[in-house]
């Protein structure tokens, strides 16, 4: 087609390669902008207090101040706050894994009168987050005598509709033949669920675990409403209280922010192999 085609192919591949690398550089720049605040948080947590708002941010502190961490932890009772958050988040994660798997199995592999209505009912709770039902849920917990208790904080968070839906979708993909075969072999339903269904739903369970943990670790408004005693504060409440005292250096606030990010990050890394596979499920399907 092109009479001077001899030179064209190499020129074209060069252009394509150039475009590829330009694209990579652009993407890397965007990714860098996204992580910049996280880098800033981390380096600031090692910075000397007075350097915070210097006009040139020192990206690699000339003198590291790791003592920001122990100092921050000792300003308020942060070990207790983190412990409280840990207890609450583990309870919420366990609750979601158990209840969402049970309900997901029931909805995916059984037909019973009203099963579709049950699913819609469960999905409809997406419009009833704690922010909406704050006052009456508070009254429920208050009347149960659960103010300033762990169960008061994690109770209303134990099951989330998103998790039920996620598990239902994952279990739908498990071949019914396997379940039937196990049933013919005389396995009980719980055994089938545990031995046949759960092993095939690891990606979904990993996604559920990461999101349930992160979301309860993140909870702020609800603990703020049901906790008034210091010994039941979760770390976000502690951090806000801490930030309100102007004497507390921002560098130490960032140290706590780094510490708060680490558990979610570690959980994600530990489950990453399954999470990446499970992501398809958290979307549309």
């Amino acid at each position: 087609m092109n009479p001077a085609g001899a030179a064209a192919p190499s020129g074209r591949t060069q252009l394509l390669a150039l475009r590829r690398w330009a694209g990579a550089a652009l993407l890397a720049a965007i990714a860098f902008l996204f992580v910049l605040p996280i880098v800033w948080m981390t380096t600031t947590s090692f910075q000397a207090g007075e350097k915070m708002f210097q006009l040139t941010t020192e990206w690699i502190p000339s003198v590291l101040h790791p003592e920001n961490y122990p100092n921050a932890l000792s300003r308020a009772d942060f070990p207790t706050y983190f412990l409280n958050s840990g207890v609450v988040s583990l309870a919420v994660t366990a609750g979601n894994i158990v209840f969402c798997t049970l309900a997901g199995y029931g909805l995916a592999k059984f037909r019973f009168p009203g099963d579709r209505f049950a699913l819609l009912l469960i999905l409809s709770t997406l419009m009833l987050p704690l922010e909406v039902t704050l006052v009456p849920t508070f009254l429920v917990i208050y009347n149960l005598g659960w103010m300033n208790t762990y169960q008061g904080i994690f109770g209303p968070l134990l099951v989330d509709a998103f998790g039920v839906f996620l598990m239902r979708q994952a279990i739908l993909a498990v071949p019914s033949d396997y379940i039937e075969a196990a049933r013919i072999d005389g396995a009980g339903e719980m055994r089938i669920l545990w031995r046949v269904v759960v092993p095939q739903c690891k990606p979904a369970l990993a996604v559920l675990a990461v999101f349930a943990f992160r979301d309860s670790w993140d909870q702020f408004l609800w603990p703020l409403t049901v906790v008034s005693k210091d010994e039941y504060r979760t770390f976000p409440l502690g951090l806000v209280k801490f930030g309100e005292y102007y004497g507390n250096p921002p560098t130490e606030q960032m140290a706590i922010a780094v510490l708060a990010t680490i558990p979610v990050f570690l959980l994600f890394v530990a489950l990453q192999r399954w999470v990446t596979r499970g992501f398809g499920l958290s979307g549309l399907k």
Binding site: L121, I122, V132, T133
Partner: protein, 318 residues
């Protein structure tokens, strides 16, 4: 065969075979037992939601017609709470702010998430690493996000430092009435867009490669391929992202609470903040319940949309 396809057409996917086939082989009693077992698996979740979702919502509706304040005996006041809200400038401002916030962050999240997913999907070198790095924003606790950004958006903070070389003067991001809400919306997108990037990627990967190859052979350029293949086939995913981020942003509390405290003035006060303040700072729980009902109505719209996508997908599967 025709019977089988009929039962598949009427029943949702994947669940219909077991009882139908069993009933003929083992008799109706076995089918009934399976029904009960299935229901038993769902029952704990239903009971939980009755106690912590539906019960409280009904109670909120009832409370919204009373003067409940936990101290004095509550009176039935009819629509008084709602009437007071309709005239309350703070409530009106919060309602408008909530809509602005939902619209702003939903649009920004949907666009930025899509842009990021498209960039990752070009399979340029290092795309996967960039994706992993950006996803980090999603693992950061929101409280950490708000504290970090409160410093970054400080008049002497990093954002202004980075903008200075471009001739942008000092911006009071969080204390200027016109800037505070956009700033919070931008932070929201920073936190959530990378998550929806992953959702979009799942959608993009599901589009068959042949379509693009065929279009390329026909001489369609990148823009035409995007407009005529990617966009239409990605529409369900886009719709999903929009609805989910709208639901997510309707319940925003922490970001404005920490970053601006609802200010300056009432510029960033949203309904969830007003519910908390009215109910727990001023102990006007009846009035707070009335605000809850309003917020519920907003979320109802998005949930109905969500259900419609869900139903359509179910039909697509069957």
């Amino acid at each position: 065969m025709s019977q089988a396809s009929l039962s598949q057409a009427t029943a949702p996917a994947g669940q219909q075979e077991i009882p139908a086939r069993r009933r003929t082989r083992l008799g109706l009693r076995y089918g009934r037992r399976l029904q009960l077992i299935g229901f038993a698996f769902v029952l704990p979740t239903l009971l939980f939601f009755a106690a912590f979702k539906f019960g409280p919502m009904l109670w909120a509706v009832e409370l919204s017609f009373t003067s409940f304040d936990m101290v004095s005996t509550p009176d039935w006041v009819g629509l008084e709470n709602y009437e007071r809200l309709a005239e309350d400038p703070v409530f009106r401002a919060s309602l408008v702010n909530t809509f602005v916030y939902i619209a702003g962050s939903t649009v920004l999240i949907a666009l930025v998430g899509l842009g990021l997913a498209l960039a990752i999907n070009t399979s340029v070198p290092g795309a996967r690493a960039c994706m992993a790095v950006m996803f980090l924003t999603n693992l950061m606790p929101i409280i950490a996000v708000t504290l970090v950004w409160r410093f970054l958006l400080h008049p002497f903070g990093l954002v202004n430092q980075l903008l200075a070389p471009f001739g942008v003067g000092r911006m009071d991001w969080l204390t200027d009435e016109d800037l505070a809400m956009p700033a919070i919306i931008a932070v929201t997108a920073w936190r959530f867009a990378p998550y929806f990037m992953v959702v979009y990627l799942a959608g993009l990967l599901a589009i068959p490669r042949d379509y693009y190859e065929a279009a390329e052979i026909d001489g369609a350029g990148a823009i035409r391929r995007f407009l005529h293949i990617t966009l239409p086939l990605l529409m369900p995913t886009i719709f999903f992202v929009v609805v989910v981020s709208a639901l997510l942003s309707s319940r925003i509390f922490l970001m404005p609470y920490i970053m601006t405290g609802g200010g300056p003035g009432d510029a960033t006060r949203v309904l969830s903040m007003l519910i908390y303040e009215t109910g727990f700072s001023y102990m006007k729980m009846g009035e707070a319940a009335a605000i809850s009902v309003v917020l519920f109505a907003i979320m109802l719209v998005f949930t109905v949309l969500q259900m419609r996508i869900f139903m359509r997908n179910e039909r697509g599967l069957a």
